[in-house]
């Protein structure tokens, strides 16, 4: 299924103020892969996501989804395939009921209202908040908002899910629920996060970014245990892999 492939070829990006945020990144992500993108604050994760989504366009290099290059022209088609869940659900849930929010995408693609309804109910059911469909977003808890934001992307039936800090600001139980949910998806997944334990559990592959460049790209279980690499990139070995704080023994 080559059209599920996501490819970044030698990406460069400068902000208008001259800040060189992305310097020559290349990688390719295949169908069904689950990839974590990690790095310190300001390393360039968010910029990279914006480039992948076609919100920003690279100064040099290209992003391809399947065999199609991301350009202004191909955006409508690209965006049906790539779904992005924002870090702050309040940015993503801009309508006044959960239903309308989840329906926003399908309606923009001019599906008939029957199909829209089918998709919305299906997406809400998958994330387990069907009962909240007529609620206003500001009445939801943090975990429910996150689920609604994910549903609002699922209703567009994307092939690839891109998530920016999906577990940020969630209590432990809600975090666990979101992780279970994400794990159940068959989509190709790209996740950025500082929650390295989540990355360790969820992603088979990890890309480490440092100062706009790829510092490492490989199997998660090998990268995240590399204390030297992690330290150099402003990160830390996941807590689950560190010494037990009580007895000092390695897990």
């Amino acid at each position: 299924m080559s059209h599920h492939k996501l490819e970044a070829k030698n990406l460069h990006f400068n902000y208008p103020d001259g800040h060189n945020a992305v310097k020559g990144m290349s990688f390719s992500i295949h169908h069904g892969e689950s990839v974590g993108i990690i790095g310190a604050n300001g390393a360039g994760k968010s910029t990279l996501l914006m480039l992948l989504m076609g919100v920003l366009f690279p100064n040099q290099g290209e992003v391809c989804v399947g065999d199609v290059q991301v350009t202004k022209k191909t955006l409508p088609m690209i965006r049906q395939r790539l779904g992005m869940v924002f870090q702050d659900p309040d940015d993503q849930l801009f309508m006044n009921t959960v239903y309308d929010d989840v329906a926003f995408g399908p309606r923009n693609y001019k599906l008939n209202e029957k199909e829209v309804e089918k998709r919305v109910l299906n997406a809400l059911e998958v994330v387990g908040i069907l009962h909240l469909k007529d609620r206003a977003p500001f009445k939801l808890s943090g975990g429910e908002k996150r689920a609604a934001a994910i549903a609002s992307v699922l209703s567009m039936q994307p092939d690839i899910l891109v998530m920016d800090e999906p577990t940020a600001a969630l209590d432990p139980k809600s975090r666990r629920r979101v992780m279970e949910l994400l794990r159940s998806f068959k989509h190709t997944k790209i996740v950025t996060s500082h929650d390295l334990d989540m990355i360790y559990e969820m992603c088979d592959r990890t890309i480490v970014i440092k100062n706009g460049e790829i510092a490492a790209d490989g199997v998660t279980s090998e990268i995240l245990v590399n204390a030297e690499l992690m330290d150099a990139c402003g990160l830390e070995v996941p807590l689950a892999l560190q010494n037990c704080p009580v007895c000092g023994s390695k897990k």
Binding site: D91, N96, D100, R107, N108, F138
Partner: protein, 269 residues
């Protein structure tokens, strides 16, 4: 709108009330909007000296309140909080209108009648507007606006404003809390921080707008806003509208209380 918590609470309360499913709530939003507008027009069309004639119009809010199972207290509270502007302007009526009339053997200034008339109208109009939103909700009201051919851009923008009031109010509340914790004994924000405090909030608002715009684009937004279908107006909806409008017109044409009163006092005599 003095207090952040109160304002947010008030909006949430009205939103909750609007999500009930009573007879009134199930009515078509456009019908409720039209009924409200005709009610307001009739109330406002009464002259300055008419008080008795206004009274039958109490039936509308009372009936809707009861049928929609709305709590009386928060609505009454709102009416009491009615803009001091009205009372400020109205209270001068007795001063400027010194003509007197007799009631129950006592002399009153006509100004009091006009003042009372203004107060009654204010109470009725405020209640009617609150009842509209408390039985319809912002999203369905937006649907009614779309049927009335209000341009999409305006409706979408209105909905966005409504949606983000609570988000931004909480943001302002956090900022003010942080400010006041480090600036005890200050009543408001000091002049030296006017620009930076409000300006920072504003810049964050711009950034948020940017992110929202991105979120919209990523889900296929291209300047057009598509709302869902809204149910057709049923016969029952038309009957509701027609019934009330007929009553309003009747109440406007005949001074019903006076008729009742005359009948009664006539019989006693």
């Amino acid at each position: 709108m003095a207090n952040i918590a109160d304002s947010i609470y008030n909006m949430r309360l009205l939103d909750d009330l609007a999500r009930q499913e009573t007879l009134i709530h199930k009515l078509h939003p456009l019908v409720k909007l039209l009924t409200t507008v005709s009610y307001l027009t009739v109330v406002v069309s009464f002259g300055r000296y008419e008080v008795a004639g206004l009274l039958p119009l109490f039936f509308y809010p009372v009936m809707v309140l009861a049928l929609a199972e709305l709590p009386l207290k928060p609505i009454l509270l709102r009416i009491l909080l009615v803009s001091p502007f009205i009372i400020g302007i109205g209270i001068l009526n007795p001063v400027f209108d010194q003509q007197t009339f007799e009631l129950a053997g006592k002399e009153f200034s006509r100004g009091w009648v006009t003042f009372l008339s203004i107060l009654l109208k204010s109470g009725l109009t405020v209640t009617a507007a609150l009842l509209l939103i408390a039985t319809t909700g912002m999203d369905r009201l937006a649907g009614a606006l779309r049927i009335l051919k209000v341009p999409r851009i305006f409706v979408l923008q209105l909905l966005l404003t409504y949606r983000y009031i609570s988000v931004l109010m909480e943001e302002v509340a956090r900022t003010l809390r942080a400010y006041s914790l480090r600036a005890p004994k200050q009543k408001g924000v000091h002049r030296s921080a006017w620009g930076s405090l409000a300006g920072q909030l504003l810049l964050r608002t711009f950034d948020r707008a940017q992110r929202i715009y991105e979120a919209m684009c990523l889900r296929g937004f291209a300047g057009e806003y598509h709302s869902g279908e809204i149910n057709k107006i049923s016969g029952w909806d038309w009957a509701y509208l027609g019934g009330w409008v007929a009553f309003f017109v009747l109440a406007r044409m005949y001074n019903i209380p006076l008729l009742i009163g005359s009948l009664l006092t006539g019989v006693i005599r």
